[in-house]
Symmetry: C2
Subunit: 230 residues, 2 copies
Amino acid sequence: MGETKKAVVLSSGGLDSTTVMAMVKDQGYDLYSLSFDYGQRHIYELEAAKKVAKAFGAKDHLVIKIDLRKIGGSALTDDIPVPKTGRISENEIPATYVPARNTIFLSFALSWAEVLCCPDIFIGVNALDYSGYPDCRPEYIHAYETMANLGVKAAVEGKIRFRIQTPLIHMTKARIITTGLSLGVDYSLTHSCYDPVPKGLACGKCDSCTLRIKGFAEAKVPDPTPYAKP
Amino acid sequence: MGETKKAVVLSSGGLDSTTVMAMVKDQGYDLYSLSFDYGQRHIYELEAAKKVAKAFGAKDHLVIKIDLRKIGGSALTDDIPVPKTGRISENEIPATYVPARNTIFLSFALSWAEVLCCPDIFIGVNALDYSGYPDCRPEYIHAYETMANLGVKAAVEGKIRFRIQTPLIHMTKARIITTGLSLGVDYSLTHSCYDPVPKGLACGKCDSCTLRIKGFAEAKVPDPTPYAKP
């Protein structure tokens, strides 16, 4: 395995994945940041991901361009309006769900992890706040890990055992924020909004903004996000 | 589920996936052909896949562009020379292995299948001829299917159950060819070579050509492949 501890970290430039980056860095890993340009309307994510990778001294930051718009099916990549409910439903699967998105993202992470000989892949999924996304649940993550270790050359040869690590999976948004702050995360670098207004200001109304605002409120710390005026 | 039977079929334009297409068509499915432009050196594959989709009257043919060259690690996408052993080793994993390739391809297929409400995904993997590729084995395919049904909205909601179908998995190349011929496949449309010479002629020497030549010889039928002269 060599002396260095390497980690591939999926980074959206958002609050959750940036917190994961801080936690992984704190554990002494060399960071390999992986982002996707998937025709999402909020390209501000990618700018944020780049800043975050730089801020944490990532060894490499890879942006993979894939055109999920060809496949369709989500308000994040299609012309379906982003819902502005102002609240998150407990059971409903949101219209912003992208078909098999985490499955696709983890597959590229796995490919890169194999090339890097890196057993640890970190993803900032959360089973509480995003209860509506099936690919944020522990049973899905475990099944992914099993599949990964059966499908990759180095794992089948016994040279590596891949672990899909999900340090946020059972954390509240407030706890994610306080954890990140304790590790020195500058959340003004991050971008969560699904539907930013011009100049990249957060809308303050979409599900992602709603969760973020609620999280800062519950953590009782100031929210550094630049929101658009109502 | 509706009345029509839909199938997403992974198509490389090669002998195996084209045979799968014929088998799926023969079972009365509407075909949704999916190919990848992944920086492979043999772009003739994509031309072949297009011809094949047209020949079988596919309802749609999607080409997803992804840049696996950024990730690296294979003779098919890097500058590593394609091996010309002239024979296939039984146990060794070939240098033409692309890290997590089938995992990535199946993930896009799954995403499209969800949007299409299509439970059946067909992939022309073969555990005999490609024994060196871990992601061509039944245990990997089963693990993928389990993961897929845990990670996709429609499956978790019980509206669909995805099946990763691998009709060639235990077939010899000769049997694949005779099956295809019995269904009217024109193998001159297909392209298998890993290292085509100019004008798209097959090299006749790489592992893929070697398997193909051997398959036609064992099937005792003429090989319509245009090979380069030695």
